[in-house]
């Protein structure tokens, strides 16, 4: 008899199961336990919700739905798609629209329409990770709700609502 094949379990906005912290003697809040699909299911489109933080660095959950604003950042960022399908459009931003302080952390909104040479675009699906090159302008476009995880630094657009997203007891 042939053994059943393995089934790899992914989560999605439509269906996810959360695990959890089972405390023995510790405070469960010290584990900052959350779930990206749970966060995205309760988020507004393109809120950058911090769900991992280590000093200046963060991982953010983003519910991609419709067209995002145009963003730019002085350092590289990366976006990992965990559910759905997202287009990312890129423009090589003119110098006067780039982040003036090149040591500034995190993404900012491009002021006005982005100006510069179109770099191209890409379409990512579950499991695909895209680079958002420093000093480019980028826009997410998702026809249906999707979930992105963004690797970046904490910036002025980062939202922290730990008590709402994390297991507390």
């Amino acid at each position: 008899m042939t053994a059943p094949k393995y089934h790899t379990k992914f989560g999605s906005l439509a269906h996810f199961e959360k695990g959890g912290v089972q405390s023995i003697t510790d405070d469960v809040k010290h584990y900052a336990f959350s779930n990206c699909f749970d966060i995205a299911s309760r988020a507004r489109p393109f809120e950058k919700i911090v769900f991992g933080q280590n000093q200046i660095y963060v991982l953010e959950t983003i519910r991609a739905e419709g067209n995002s604003p145009w963003y730019t950042c002085a350092h590289d960022e990366f976006a990992l798609c965990m559910d759905g399908e997202v287009e990312i459009h890129l423009i090589q931003l003119d110098a006067d629209q780039q982040v003036r302080d090149q040591t500034k952390n995190g993404a900012v909104l491009v002021i006005g329409e982005p100006r510069g040479q179109p770099m191209g675009w890409m379409k990512i699906r579950r499991g695909h990770q895209a680079m958002l090159p420093r000093n480019s302008a980028y826009q997410f476009r998702a026809a249906q709700p999707a979930v992105l995880i963004q690797q970046t630094c904490k910036g002025e657009l980062s939202i922290e609502r730990w008590a709402d997203i994390c297991q507390t007891a």
């Binding site: 393995y6 089934h7 790899t8 379990k9 989560g11 996810f16 199961e17 959360k18 695990g19 912290v21 089972q22 405390s23 023995i24 003697t25 510790d26 469960v28 809040k29 010290h30 584990y31 900052a32 336990f33 959350s34 779930n35 990206c36 699909f37 749970d38 991992g52 933080q53 280590n54 000093q55 200046i56 660095y57 991982l59 590289d76 960022e77 990366f78 965990m82 990312i88 890129l90 090589q92 040479q117 179109p118 770099m119 191209g120 890409m122 379409k123 699906r125 579950r126 499991g127 695909h128 990770q129 895209a130 680079m131 090159p133 690797q151 970046t152 630094c153 922290e160 730990w162 994390c166």
Partner: protein, 335 residues
């Protein structure tokens, strides 16, 4: 400039007449193995002989990670008794020092060694004690037995280089995608993982800037378990995804907060106090779950099916010292 060549004197015996394995001495510690077990012995501070025994396969799996990870961040506990602490220019080797009972009984021993010395000793021990057909990085179902008398070696499998992207996997000049032709077929447990590449539509001249890759396909082709790679880098923020199956062969003690993002399937974690091993919590992680391991804990994972885990590390060279000095917290966030 020519590279500096370090000559390190490794203290090894001649091969045992029966088992065929060499014994090794490092400071006050002696390591020897027989057909089934690795034995570590030392003399306590009061002069009493003390020893500890581990299954040879489990010992080699732990030793493999310690060597391959350059002693990693903080504590690499081989089990509840022996392990190493990375001091970054040197390494502590201990027996019982982070076991509450043994410490209290004052039968523990900790000695510090220059990194080159302990690395060279561990590398030679790993090579000598690993038989042909046994791969310490492989899942138990995917490799032969570590047991028995010495028969050949498996040097190629115990000297794999860590796969570390400098900016992002797949960029020109950076870590390449895995493929059948690079010797990385899709693992049996990930045969259902979609392999299609992202759609890329770069304008001329931007071929290396408009970039994405299939991370899950990359991971589905991992030939090893519990061995994080770097796949994308933002300053000192390292995405270190890895594929996990069976038990993490070490119990990692943190010297910084470490984050885990479970990308598929599930892992169960045992968390304990890093100084004593006292149990603190269990963390059950399923697809999409995120959890932090506080800097005061040690943790060991159990993955019933091969799964994809994103280990997210802050690789700042000053972070461990900032935690020691109280400038950076032991917990990930306060709320």
């Amino acid at each position: 400039m020519n590279a500096v060549v370090e000559f390190v004197n490794v203290l090894a015996s001649k091969p045992d007449a029966v088992s065929g394995y060499k014994s090794f001495t490092l400071g006050s510690f002696t390591f020897c193995r027989d057909e089934y077990f690795a034995h570590v012995s030392w003399t306590t501070r009061s002069g009493k002989p003390m020893s500890h025994t581990l299954d040879a396969g489990n010992f080699l799996r732990a030793l493999m990670r310690d060597v391959a990870w350059g002693f990693f961040y903080g504590w690499v506990n081989f089990d509840a008794v022996i392990g190493t602490v990375n001091r970054y220019e040197s390494v502590d080797l201990y027996a019982g020092s982070y076991n509450g009972t043994m410490k209290e009984a004052e039968i523990d021993l900790l000695e510090n060694f220059p990194t080159a010395q302990i690395r060279a000793t561990f590398e030679q021990m790993l090579d000598d004690w690993t038989n042909e057909g046994f791969d310490p990085f492989a899942a138990p179902q995917e490799t032969g037995s570590a047991h028995g008398r010495k028969r050949g070696n498996n040097t190629a499998k115990v000297t794999r280089a860590r796969e570390l992207a400098k900016r992002c996997v797949g960029l020109k000049g950076d870590l390449a995608m895995r493929s059948d032709t690079s010797g990385a077929p899709i693992n049996r447990a990930f045969a259902d993982v979609p392999q299609e590449a992202p759609e890329l539509h770069p304008e001329p001249g931007f071929e290396n800037d408009v970039h994405a890759f299939n991370l899950f396909a990359f991971l589905s082709r991992s030939q090893v378990t519990w061995n994080p790679s770097f796949t994308s880098v933002v300053k000192y923020s390292f995405m270190c995804p890895t594929t996990e199956e069976h038990i993490l062969p070490i119990i990692h003690g943190n010297d910084r907060v470490e984050w885990f993002f479970q990308m598929c399937d599930e892992i169960h974690w045992d968390c304990g106090d890093k100084n004593t091993g006292k149990p603190l919590a269990r963390v059950i992680m399923k697809a999409g779950d995120m959890a932090a391991m506080p800097a005061y804990c040690r943790h060991q994972g159990f993955s019933p099916k091969r799964s994809m885990l994103l280990v997210w590390e802050n690789g700042s060279p000053t972070l461990a010292y900032e935690i020691q000095n109280g400038k950076s917290p032991e917990i990930p966030v306060q709320f």
